[in-house]
C-alpha cells in the first residue's frame, strides 16, 4: 500500500445513531435505516440538506429479501438526489462503511457523508442460517450442504488446539460482553450469565454452543462523517478517523491456517501505519474487536496485535479486557450482547468508540482515559478484515 499520504483535510466523525437491536422489528428496512440516520444527524446538529454523499452498508440481499438492496435502502438512508453507493465485504461491511466514507471526504469530493448500516435478518424463513446455504462455491462446496457454523466450529477448534485455550476460557468473552451490554439501551441479549451457563447451553456444532454465538437481529446504525472544516463548525469534540485498513483473502478457507487471522493482521498493519501507530498493544486505549462468536473476539484481539498470538485468553482471565481493565474490549456489549445485525453491528462498534472517545458512553464509559481506539469487522468465508483507528 501507498504510505505517502498528503491528506489536506482530516476526516472526523461528528454524530452517531443506532436503533434498538431486536428480533422481528416491525419497521421495514428503509424505516430502520432512517431511524438510525436521523439520530446520527440529530447528534451532529445537521439535517439531510447538509449531507453531500451517502454510503450504505448491508450484507446479503437475501436477508432483507430485496435484490439491489442499496437502491432499496437509498431513500431511507437519506440518498435522495445525492451521490450514493453501497459497499460490501460480507460481515466486514459494517466497519468498511466508515472506511469508505473516509475517502469520500479525504478525496475532497464530499464534505459531509452519511454512513448507514442496516440489516433485517429475522424475515428469512425458516431461519436466517438458510441464507448461508447460498454463500458457498457452487461447484466445490455447495453440494456438501455446509452450514456456516460448521466452518466456524472448525476455526474455534483449531484456535483451541493451537493456543491451548479451553471452552471455559473462551466462554468468559460471552460472559463479559453480555454483562457489558446490560448498560446498553439498544442491547438485545444483555444478561448476567456465568461460564457454567455457556457450557450448559445447547450444542450447535461442537465446540460451538448457543451462548457462544451472537443472536439473529434486526437493526440499523449510522454515522455522520465530515471534513475538518465542517467538524470544527458543528462540534467541539470531533473524533478523527486516523487510520483505515482492509484486506480480503481468497475464498479457500479450507487451505488456511485458521488459528491466526492473517487477513485482519494485514488490514490492521495498513491502518496502524496510516495512523502512525507502532505499538498498538500500548497505544490503543479501547477496542471493539468483532465478536459474532466468543472465540472470535480473542482471535481478533490477536490479529489486531493487542495481544500476542495465543495469549488473549490468558489476559482475558486476568480481567485485562474488562471495562475497568488495562485495555477494555467490546465495552458496548459487542455482538454477543447487543446483537448482530451484520452490517449495522460493525457500524455500532464504530459508534460505540465514537461515544467512548467523547466520554459520552455514560455507564458504559471505560475507566481509563482514552485517546485512541480501534474497531474491526470480519466477513465472507473467514477472509475479510476491515479496520478503523479513531482518535480524539
Amino acid at each position: 500500500m501507498v504510505t505517502n499520504l498528503f491528506v489536506k483535510d482530516r476526516v472526523a466523525i461528528v454524530g452517531a445513531g443506532i436503533t434498538t437491536f431486536m428480533r422481528r422489528a416491525l419497521e421495514t428496512p428503509r424505516e430502520l435505516a432512517w431511524e438510525a440516520a436521523r439520530m446520527a444527524l440529530d447528534q451532529a446538529g445537521l439535517t439531510l440538506k447538509d449531507v453531500d454523499c451517502v454510503v450504505i452498508g448491508s450484507a446479503p440481499d437475501t436477508f432483507d429479501g430485496v435484490h439491489l438492496k442499496g437502491e432499496y435502502l437509498a431513500d431511507g438512508s437519506g440518498a435522495i438526489r445525492k451521490p450514493m453507493t453501497r459497499v460490501y465485504v460480507g460481515g466486514g461491511t459494517g466497519v468498511f462503511v466508515p472506511v469508505s466514507a473516509w475517502w469520500h471526504v479525504a478525496s475532497g469530493l464530499c464534505k459531509t457523508v452519511l454512513a448507514v448500516g442496516e440489516e433485517k435478518m429475522s424475515p428469512a424463513h425458516p431461519h436466517p442460517q438458510y441464507v448461508f446455504r447460498y454463500i458457498w462455491d457452487p461447484i466445490i462446496h455447495r453440494p456438501l450442504e455446509p452450514n456456516l457454523i460448521w466452518i466456524f466450529a472448525m476455526e474455534m477448534r483449531r484456535y483451541m488446539a493451537k493456543c491451548g485455550a479451553k471452552k471455559e476460557d473462551i466462554a468468559l468473552v460471552s460472559v463479559k460482553n453480555k454483562r457489558n451490554a446490560l448498560d446498553n439501551p439498544a442491547a438485545q441479549v444483555a444478561a448476567n450469565i456465568t461460564v457454567d451457563d455457556v457450557l450448559k447451553s445447547e450444542v450447535l456444532v461442537w465446540p460451538v454452543q448457543e451462548l457462544d454465538v451472537s443472536p439473529v437481529t434486526d437493526g440499523a446504525a449510522a454515522l455522520v462523517i465530515t471534513s475538518e472544516n465542517v467538524a470544527r463548525q458543528v462540534t467541539d469534540s470531533p473524533v478523527w478517523i486516523e487510520g483505515v485498513g482492509f484486506t480480503l483473502d481468497n475464498q479457500h478457507w479450507e487451505n488456511r491456517e485458521l488459528a491466526f487471522p492473517r487477513y485482519l493482521n494485514y488490514a490492521a498493519r495498513m491502518a496502524y501505519r496510516m495512523a502512525g501507530i507502532e505499538r498498538p498493544w500500548k497505544e490503543i486505549d479501547v477496542a471493539e474487536p468483532y465478536d459474532p462468536f466468543d472465540y472470535k473476539e480473542l482471535h481478533h484481539i490477536e490479529g489486531l496485535m493487542l495481544a500476542r498470538p495465543c495469549e488473549a485468553w490468558k489476559l482475558l482471565k486476568e480481567g485485562y479486557f474488562n471495562r475497568d481493565g488495562e485495555l477494555p474490549t467490546s465495552p458496548s456489549g459487542g455482538l454477543l450482547g447487543v446483537g448482530n445485525p451484520i452490517a449495522a453491528a460493525g457500524v455500532m462498534k464504530v459508534a460505540e468508540l465514537f461515544w467512548q472517545l467523547r466520554y459520552e458512553a455514560g455507564k458504559r464509559q471505560v475507566k481509563r482515559p482514552v485517546h485512541r481506539a480501534v474497531a474491526n469487522a470480519w466477513g465472507d468465508l473467514m477472509q475479510a478484515g476491515t479496520v478503523i483507528v479513531l482518535g480524539n
Binding site: 500500500m1 501507498v2 499520504l5 491528506v7 421495514t28 451517502v54 450484507a59 446479503p60 440481499d61 437475501t62 429479501g65 430485496v66 435484490h67 439491489l68 438492496k69 442499496g70 437502491e71 432499496y72 437509498a74 431513500d75 431511507g76 440518498a79 435522495i80 438526489r81 445525492k82 451521490p83 450514493m84 453507493t85 453501497r86 459497499v87 460490501y88 465485504v89 460480507g90 469508505s100 473516509w102 475517502w103 469520500h104 479525504a106 478525496s107 475532497g108 469530493l109 446455504r133 447460498y134 454463500i135 457452487p138 461447484i139 483505515v244 485498513g245 482492509f246 484486506t247 480480503l248 483473502d249 481468497n250 475464498q251 494485514y266 488490514a267 495498513m270 496510516m274 465472507d380 468465508l381
Partner: protein
C-alpha cells in the same frame, strides 16, 4: 491541485449472448490479466486497491464478495465490492487515488445473465416487497414503459424517433466486434415488431450478453511509471434520485440522477463552455431506446425536447457532429448487468486511444460516458474522459 487520475489499462472478455466455456471467475480472470498486461502492471505488486462490482442475486451467491479477490489478483490485498455498476466502482477508484490512499486501483465488473434462468423474477426481487412487487404488472420493464410514455408526451418525440435510435445503434454495432446484437435494422423493422412493454417493441429494448471488463486507474505520477498510453478521467459523477422502493417520488420522463451526476462530473472536469460543444463522442445509456434521447438531454448535449430533432438530422450518427454510441451501445452490445457502465467506458477509452477499429471516431479527444443502473433503480453515473 488535486491529483490527476488516468486510465492506464483496459481488458475485456465475452460480449456474447452466452459464454459456456468459462465460469464467472474464469471470465473475471480473463479480463483482468488482459487489463494488467495492457497497463503493464504486476497486480501482485503494483496495484494498491482492487474494486469489484457485482450484486448477489445476479450471481446466485449470497455473499459474492467472497469470490472477488482471487481471479483479479486481489487475494490478501485491499479488495472490496461495490454493489453497483462498474462506473460506480470507478468513482471509488477516483476517490481512492485523489485521497492519496492509493496510486493504482483496478476495477472489475462482470455480468453473466446467460446463467440466470429466471431473470424476470430476479428483477421483481428488486421491487419494494410491500408497495410494488405485488402489483399485477407482468413485466418488470413496465417502469421503463411509463418513463418512455412520459418522455414522449413531454418532448413530442414519436415512436419513430425511438425506432431510429435502435436502428442507428444496431447498425453502428456491425463495425464493433463486441456487439452481438447488431443488425441492419430499419425503422420499419423496429416499429413492426411486437410490443414488449408499450410503447417499446422488442427491438427498442436491449438484450443481455455476458462480459467481464477490467479497468486500471492510476495517479499521474504513477501512470508515468508504467505506460504512456493514458486516457485521463477528468471528472466523475454519480447520483441517486430516489430509492427503488419509492417510485412515487420519481420524476417520470426524466432521469434527474443523470443530470445530477453530469453536473458533478462536469464540475470536477472543469468543463469550460457548453457541454454540447465539449465532446467528440458520447457513449450514453440506451438499454431502452428512449433512454438515449433522454440521456442526451440530461447530459445537456441537447436542449430539452430537442434530442429527437437532432437525431432526425443525423447529428448523432457516426460521422455526424457528435457521434453517440458509435459502439452500438447496449442495444447492439447487450446489457451485461453491472458491467454495462464499464463496457461503455471501455469503448470510450479505445476511441480516445485511437484503437476502436472500424468504428473509430476520427480525431476523438474528449468523450463523455453515462450509464443508468436500469429498472427499477434511479441511480446514474457519468464520466468525462480526455485523450492523453
Amino acid at each position: 491541485m488535486p491529483r490527476r487520475v488516468g486510465i492506464i489499462g483496459v481488458g475485456w472478455y465475452g460480449f456474447r449472448p452466452s459464454t459456456p466455456e468459462v465460469h464467472f471467475q474464469g471470465m473475471m480472470f480473463e479480463s483482468s490479466h488482459r487489463a494488467y498486461a495492457d497497463a503493464n502492471v504486476d497486480p501482485r505488486k503494483d496495484v494498491d486497491v482492487f474494486v469489484d462490482c457485482q450484486e448477489d442475486l445476479w450471481e446466485g451467491i449470497a455473499i459474492t464478495d467472497e469470490f472477488a479477490p482471487e481471479p483479479i489478483g486481489g487475494a490478501l490485498r485491499p479488495t472490496f465490492t461495490v454493489s453497483g455498476d462498474g462506473l460506480l466502482g470507478v468513482a471509488h477508484a477516483y476517490m481512492l487515488i485523489r485521497s492519496g490512499l492509493a496510486d493504482v486501483v483496478a476495477v472489475e465488473a462482470h455480468g453473466k445473465p446467460s446463467e440466470i434462468r429466471t431473470l424476470q423474477d430476479v428483477y421483481y426481487m428488486a421491487f419494494d416487497p410491500l408497495h410494488v412487487r405485488p402489483l399485477p404488472t407482468g413485466n418488470p420493464f413496465f417502469l421503463a414503459g411509463l418513463d418512455a410514455q412520459a418522455y414522449m408526451q413531454r418532448t413530442g418525440a414519436s415512436r419513430e424517433h425511438l425506432a431510429l435510435v435502435s436502428a442507428k445503434n444496431r447498425t453502428n454495432g456491425l463495425k464493433n466486434e463486441r456487439a452481438p446484437y447488431s443488425a441492419r435494422l430499419t425503422v420499419d423493422d423496429v416499429l413492426s415488431a411486437p410490443y414488449a412493454v408499450y410503447p417499446l417493441t422488442r427491438y427498442d429494448i436491449a438484450d443481455f450478453s455476458d462480459a467481464s471488463v477490467t479497468v486500471v486507474l492510476a495517479s499521474e505520477e504513477a501512470a508515468k511509471r508504467f505506460t504512456d498510453k493514458v486516457v485521463w478521467l477528468d471528472g466523475i459523477g454519480f447520483s441517486t434520485e430516489t430509492g427503488s422502493g419509492a417510485v412515487e417520488w420519481h420524476a417520470w420522463g426524466r432521469m434527474l440522477s443523470m443530470r445530477d451526476a453530469a453536473l458533478m462530473a462536469y464540475k470536477l472536469a472543469g468543463l469550460a463552455g457548453s457541454p454540447s460543444e465539449s465532446f467528440d463522442l458520447a457513449e450514453v445509456e440506451d438499454r431502452f431506446s428512449f433512454m438515449e434521447l433522454l440521456s442526451l438531454e440530461e447530459l445537456m448535449l441537447a436542449k430539452e425536447g430537442e434530442a429527437h430533432r437532432l437525431l432526425e438530422q443525423g447529428h448523432f450518427n457516426l460521422g455526424g457532429p457528435l457521434p453517440v454510441n458509435p459502439s452500438g451501445g447496449s442495444l447492439a452490445m447487450g446489457v451485461q448487468l453491472e458491467a454495462t457502465g464499464l463496457a461503455r467506458l471501455l469503448e470510450a477509452v479505445l476511441q480516445l486511444r485511437g484503437e476502436a477499429g472500424p468504428h473509430q471516431v476520427k480525431g476523438a479527444r474528449k468523450a463523455v460516458v453515462a450509464t443508468w443502473r436500469g429498472v427499477p433503480t434511479y441511480t446514474s453515473a457519468v464520466a468525462v474522459l480526455s485523450a492523453g
